[in-house]
């Protein structure tokens, strides 16, 4: 039982990070139909800026705020300088632009910060909490709680506010959205800024557990993308379920099967799910109207 709980909590913590990255994907995808592969770089920025700001003597909460603000700035700049000028281009072109942006951001981070690994102190101490025999880092609760807050906020925003509905409308049909008076450029910028903020929050929450460095974003983007696909691209609930499921698959795979093949096992399950339900667990079936 203790063993099961240990795997469960380990999986949920890692899964919550994947879920937050997947949520970032979801927001931008919903607004623009673009999969933003620079999403992992926002996670990196959140962690790295906080580390360097707090190393410069800024108190941790303020450093975290600076990091979120900086990431939003970068997100807006990414939209303004790279995505907006190419707005007529196809989604594939835009996706390739985001890959380019992620390489650029990583390179800049390596030069501006450094290439070392960094850590942040845990928000509420390092002493593990004993839950029925499983040892849990207090920071895990911060990650899980933070992820829950972000998910609820995003859900309320998308489903129950006018701007949120404008985001969904823009995603559904850009031209029609513009015809009913939605400023789609602003909505797109909003989506990039919001998605950067989510990424940065994820980066700040997990850095005490996972450490951070300039290139931490690549794998997170990949795992977050897999989680978003598993849950159904474009569905916030799907992103969260997909992320948690991927984390659990990895933890239980490593614990009960073989740690050598845990990634292979996780991706195998994703493949099977996508074979059965190509739109993902919660995805809306895409209907091509002719």
């Amino acid at each position: 039982m203790a063993e099961f709980l240990q795997f469960l909590i380990s999986g949920l913590t890692v899964g919550a990070v994947y879920a937050l990255v997947a949520l970032g994907f979801t927001l931008i995808y919903n607004a623009s139909g673009v999969v933003n592969f620079a999403q992992g770089e926002f996670v990196m920025l959140g962690g790295m800026v906080t580390v360097f700001a707090s190393a410069a003597g800024v108190p941790l909460p303020l450093a975290a705020l600076i990091a979120v603000a900086a990431s939003i700035m970068i997100g807006l700049l990414l939209h303004r300088l790279a995505i907006e000028p190419a707005r007529g281009a196809s989604a594939v072109t835009l996706i390739i632009i985001t890959i380019g942006a992620s390489i650029l951001l990583r390179g800049l981070a390596a030069i501006i910060f450094d290439k070392q690994f960094h850590k942040l102190p845990a928000f509420t101490g390092d002493a593990p909490i004993d839950i029925l025999g499983a040892a849990v880092q207090p920071q895990s609760f911060w990650v899980l709680g933070g992820a829950a807050v972000v998910v609820v906020t995003l859900y309320v925003f998308l489903e129950h506010t006018l701007i949120g509905k404008a985001v969904l409308a823009t995603a559904a049909n850009r031209l029609a959205a513009r015809l009913v008076g939605i400023n789609t450029t602003t909505i797109m910028a909003l989506a990039f800024g919001g998605s950067a903020a989510i990424g940065a929050v994820a980066g700040i929450l997990v850095t005490p557990i996972t450490l951070t460095s300039y290139d931490v974003g690549t794998l997170l983007a990949l795992k977050g993308f897999a989680a978003a696909m598993l849950g159904g691209m474009g569905n916030p609930v799907g992103a969260v379920v997909g992320g948690l499921l991927l984390g659990l698959l990895e933890a239980f795979g490593a614990g009960y099967l073989s740690s050598t093949y845990k990634d292979a096992f996780a991706f195998l399950v994703i493949l099977i799910v996508l074979f059965v339900a190509p739109q993902g667990l919660f995805g809306r079936r895409a209907v091509e109207r002719v």
Partner: protein, 388 residues
Amino acid sequence: MKSKATLKILLAAGVMGFGLSEGALAQNSVKIGSVLSVTGPSSFLGEPEDKTLRIYVDKINAAGGVAGKKIELVIYDDGGDANKARTFATRLIEDDEVVAMVGGTTTGATMAMIPVFEDAKIPFISLAGAIEVIDPVRKFVFKTPHTDKMACEKIFEDLKKRNLTKIGLISGTDGFGASMRAQCVKVAPNYGMQIVADENYGPRDSDMTAQLTKIKNTAGVQAVVNPGFGQGPAIVTRNYAQLGMNSIPFYQSHGVASKSFIELAGAAAEGVRLPAAALLVGDKLPESDPQKKVVTEYKQAYESATKQPVSTFGGHAYDGLFILVEAMKRANSTDPQKVRDEIEKTKGFVGTGGIVNMSPTDHLGLDLSAFRVLEIKGGDWNLVASGS
């Protein structure tokens, strides 16, 4: 018409001048080449190597050079890409016409460059870790860093002294972790070690509690060894403490032998043991230690020039450069063939990595005494007295 003729004369003069200055340079200088991963994923290895070579070549030249000639250093950055490394190796030999090479940050890059140097018969001192570089022995290839096999042997030697024989392995699946794991499994029987648990983690994994829980619940595990590199071992160490496994002795590898590991792992690193080069504990070595002088001088020179903490990786470049320079001095020549023969005759060279005694069958020349067993106590490295 007239202007055209003038131009021709000018051109001719220019070409001649070029030829002259090149010839003059070639006589007074000796070209040493280097291909390093100064940028890219292995930059934390390549950067200190690059800085070390530049600092010491300047120092050697200021002191009059080697065999009456100034050293001209040609460094290329392969960015961690073995293909690029090979291209640069060809360029060093064909365009730059170097007489020797000290470089090859990663095992991948080194293995890709070996055929080029073997064919050209140019001595190549590699800075890569894996044993494949010098086993089997190739005529023109040498290396300075300890091998992962030696690290396993040193750990097992220490375990044997403590009468611990049943071990759990938790290894990274990156090149370093996988290679060291294989070597540990191979040499374990020689020390009577029994591997009762064998777990892995991805180099970018952020949580290893699942694997450690499995090891913890394996009956009879007396010690845990973590072959790995980068941030993985720091997370493993933190998870180890989180799960309250501190009562089981825990060994890291020389792959984490830098101050940043202690920093990242924090209090969880207390009591962790690892094999490492003397360079890390230079100030703690007894005065009688033959390496004391070399390592403290290198540390001081590197840190005052770069304002960064010294790492063993830069030390490998130091050793490589000086093995080469001393071979050139002994040969009193810069002829690649003669230099190679002298490198192979290196005896009693005191470097940062250990005392080097090369032979035609051993192109590394280090024995287990090159490694010291360290224990982390009070947030710092401490020498474990042999026999405890």
